[in-house]
Point group: D2
Chain length 344, copies 4
């Protein structure tokens, strides 16, 4: 079968790889759709991020959905033909963090398409994959494969929202409206936020964020002072989700986030210089959010029950053989939010 | 009466000021002891900190205890001769934050000896002061005036511990063992922390921290790698209290603080460059702690019931007329923890 | 002007009362719509509930909306003609609980139409009322007076949901589908609950609950064992909202609420005998929810932004002169959810 | 070797049982001391409690300490001769609750000396036992075997305190001063409670509670109205630990527990009739606490570091051959707190 294998920055190849053996407790899945994530882009453009670097050829991809082709002899509760979203996360279940219910910090995590460990964990941009039943989440008929593949980034957004604490009736700022920022808008609204303001440097992502429920969009290039309207009484926002990785965006919240407000850092970023005096004097609560665990099942349930709608964020679906074009489109913020690959 | 008035950096004078009028609901207090705080030192040495600057002469001091000399006609529950610690904090009671129980963020706060607002709030390094009954907390006979004056910095430490969440059975790192760091050791132990490791660049503060209950002291100049012993399994500490204001000290916790660990920022600091990737990937919770509110009453109760002992942290008590010498001593970390002024 | 005054059980009269004077910081409001609450019914049918009894004639009503007729000289931010929902709650702002942000426990609470204190606090079923600006919340044009009057019971539901902790992705059981139970369904869905099962002894309330978002309705008379489907693995629900005041309904959750689950008690009830062994062994968290505070503003904002829809719960609107018929209808669970009075 | 086997109410026999085989990852332990728990007494006096009944002969006992006699070939970190406290709790590690870090709700729990499942889990009142290394916690030299055996009930108290939320500066009521109530006093003080009031119907337990740190003891037979002193402002206690299993004791807290106060139910009890109106109107938080998990390691660490002292609660140590006398003494609240068996 075919797979998308990254060899070096810019060197992404369609290659033949073997179909894996199906163990008794596993499922064999015909992958149908896969979303291109920011980390896929980083591997493609730069060979990795931070200290995580490609050291051997690796199949990319961790946002996929498909249909079950074969069910292992001991795998219960699944049938051939059922459509599923696949969680890319396989924690060990036994380590200190798994036993605390903090599986995203597993000491022996295997996560599709990640070069964090050596050998790398091969990814899911391939025609066929085997997975554990614990990774498989059934999709309702009305949820397309493409929407199903978005369960993964939606899980990331849901995890960030869970980490932020209850949002019912809260006022929320989201800086950075890429796919994750926009999904945070969806998740925050679903969790009951009453006011959601988004900022970005580009218009297309802001429009997308408005489509999925934001109340107000601010283009910080065109309206550099617009956030100032929220600075009364030491700040009007209860929670600031920072999803741009940009220092200026992060700091733009300091005047408008209320004392005791929560600054959620979503998605990775580099070194940023912070005014500690403000964090102290306003008693901010700066929290990281990394991946997810229980949220994957919630994401699929929200999609299945039409409690969220991610369709407005799907910009395009391209065949996997056009991966180069798809990755270029995914990197172009003026045109695209989420770009999907089709493995049909 | 006499007061210690700061006019400019280095220019601290003993001056005569008027005894204030006693309003019906107030107490007149003969100040007996006052502790020199880091912020007093900043006013003395640099004329302020960050954007807070002395713009007019200001009586310094906010850590004081004394005895009641006169009781306003409408002031209930207090009698002449009673000894009290005085909270320097007078929130308005009416603003958005007071009505949320977050009085330390009061929009109209009056805090003794602070140049944050103009005109400045005059401080408590004086022989006589009037205060509201809500600021007055009775001291048990066995608690000295000097110990009573430490209710204020102890409140700061208690507030930081409260902000950190429950500590029973937790492992705690404290970087920076000045008076606040050492009081955090006391407060963390009182709250049930089972392991407390402290670091500093100087030996005297480390010795003091051990005296008040730390389990292990690390001089990071002499033992730069000693913290590495706590890095197993992504980090062994549950909470890191950063009380040094130093970037290296702050970052020293990143390898030894466990995922989902709490990094409490105690005391002010300048700009610090942080690796956001680590905060995200380990899902740290970086929280500021600023002043206190309900903790002042708790501090006095802990002192009164002998549930904490702050005496080992009192390095010296000097007459207020020797303020210059006292301030110099307070600034010398090789010799002094808390230095008190006597107003007898 | 006219008011609805309760004198004794069954003795509810339309009476002329004086229009109150408008103080400078107050608003005078022409009441348009008022909802009949369970406590109004209790006063009407039984003269009160528990130890709370009518001891003097009292205007009933605390769920009202109307339009501003006059604005006090010192009242800012409001104009004649604006339509508002009025919060019936007037905490003192000064007591221990107000200063903790727990205003619903105010030691000197004034709550419209309540016989809890003597003299009673007169209610809002009247043509004109004066209120503080802090009680007034502006309604969007598309929100009818009737919907506006439902801000109050919606606030009760929101408060219960807030007390229950974050609901995003949670499974929820609601026993009792009167107006409060149905509003809890709305609030729980708004807060992100993924599964909401409701039970009642009557069909009409169950139908109403389904209309506002419940996933499954169980008539416990017709399907006494249906909840058993949720008992696997010690229980499948994360939160049980008990809104029936009925012992059997409360206990029906014990087998299906998961260990560490939250049992929210919403609305008053009498003595109930509980198996403490189960609460202990499953470590339930049984919490009371009483009235609201900040939730009123949130309720109005949710209505204004169409983030909730309470219209399906309004069964009928009758003129206040037909109060007898309206109260009879409100008491008939086979016919009515919320019954409104019109004061036009 | 000898073991204490319960056959029926009142029929407790010293019997010879086989020494179990040591598996590679296990430890063989020479049991030295064992504490008699309330549940042991229930099995002895009544054959069980609630629906839990002895259906086959069962070795009693789950509070033990001893010294390692043999170390399995694959068991790491332990050596022959080391003294340990043994946690009686062996969760499966794999079920839904174990993977949530809520191991005390394990769907496949094995707990020493418990008739909850069939076949019963045999207990630890025996001369030799094998256990997993995860159950073994090393004791410091200064901690006696008897104190070590108290790690188990101390864990129960610590778990209750953890469930109650942070106690630093809090006011605490403990009703019922048996061993668990008294250990709650110790744990609450260790966690920073500033005021601890205890009640009981007997004088001996109250004296014991005072010895381990309670501030005030109330004999509710002799001083039935004394708690009334704490009813001001809707109640002065922040947390009420109910450790008597008695309805009157539970209800005695309703007037003195503040709104939003926590009522912790510690230890099992039967059916109790509660005034739901009060739980609702005061928004109590009634929480069960059942056994423990991570707290066992904390208990041993607190003992090892002398951060708690349980010695005042050990009333007597008798040879296991005098079990009948020991159980009679343990049941006599006028004489005994914790009674230990020696297995030397």
């Amino acid at each position: 079968m075919d797979a998308l294998v990254i060899h070096a920055p810019g060197d992404l190849r369609v290659e033949q790889i073997d179909t894996p053996d199906l163990l008794p407790h596993q499922l064999q899945v015909r992958v149908r759709a896969g979303g291109i994530c920011g980390s896929d882009l980083h591997y493609f453009q730069h060979g990795g991020f931070g200290t995580v670097r490609i050291k051997e050829p690796m199949v990319l991809g961790h946002e996929v959905a498909g249909s079950i082709e074969d069910v292992g002899a001991a795998a219960q509760g699944f049938a051939v033909g059922e459509r599923i979203a696949i969680s890319p996360s396989r924690p060990c279940g036994l380590c200190r963090f798994c036993q605390l219910g903090q599986q995203n910090h597993c000491l022996d995590m295997r996560y599709y398409g990640s070069a964090m460990r050596m050998p790398h964990v091969q990814g899911a941009f391939r025609q066929r994959i085997v997975c554990e039943t614990s990774q498989a989440h059934k999709l309702a008929d009305h949820v397309s494969d493409g929407e199903g593949s978005m369960a993964e980034p939606l899980s990331v957004a849901l995890h960030a929202v869970n980490r932020a604490g209850p949002l019912l009736g809260k006022r929320v700022l989201v800086t950075g409206c890429g796919p994750i920022g926009a999904l945070v808008v969806i998740a925050a609204r679903r969790a009951g936020a009453t006011q959601i303001v988004v900022t970005d440097m580009a218009s297309q992502p802001l429009r997308a964020a408005m489509k999925v429920g934001a109340d107000q969009a601010i283009n910080i290039v065109e309206q550099p002072d617009a956030l100032g309207a929220f600075s009364a009484d030491k700040g009007q926002f209860d929670v600031h989700f920072e999803a741009s990785g940009n220092a200026r965006a992060l700091l733009s919240g300091f005047d408008v986030l209320r004392p005791r407000g929560v600054l959620m850092l979503v998605g990775l970023g580099g070194d940023i210089t912070l005014p500690m005096n403000t964090i102290v004097a306003k008693e901010f609560d700066v929290r990281g959010a990394f991946r997810f665990h229980a949220e994957f099942a919630v994401a699929v349930e929200l999609l299945n029950k039409r409690l969220v709608d991610v369709k407005p964020l799907i910009s395009a679906t391209l065949p996997y053989r056009d991966a180069g074009r798809a990755f270029a489109l995914a990197a172009d913020r003026s045109q695209a939010m989420k770009v999907l690959l089709s493995f049909d």
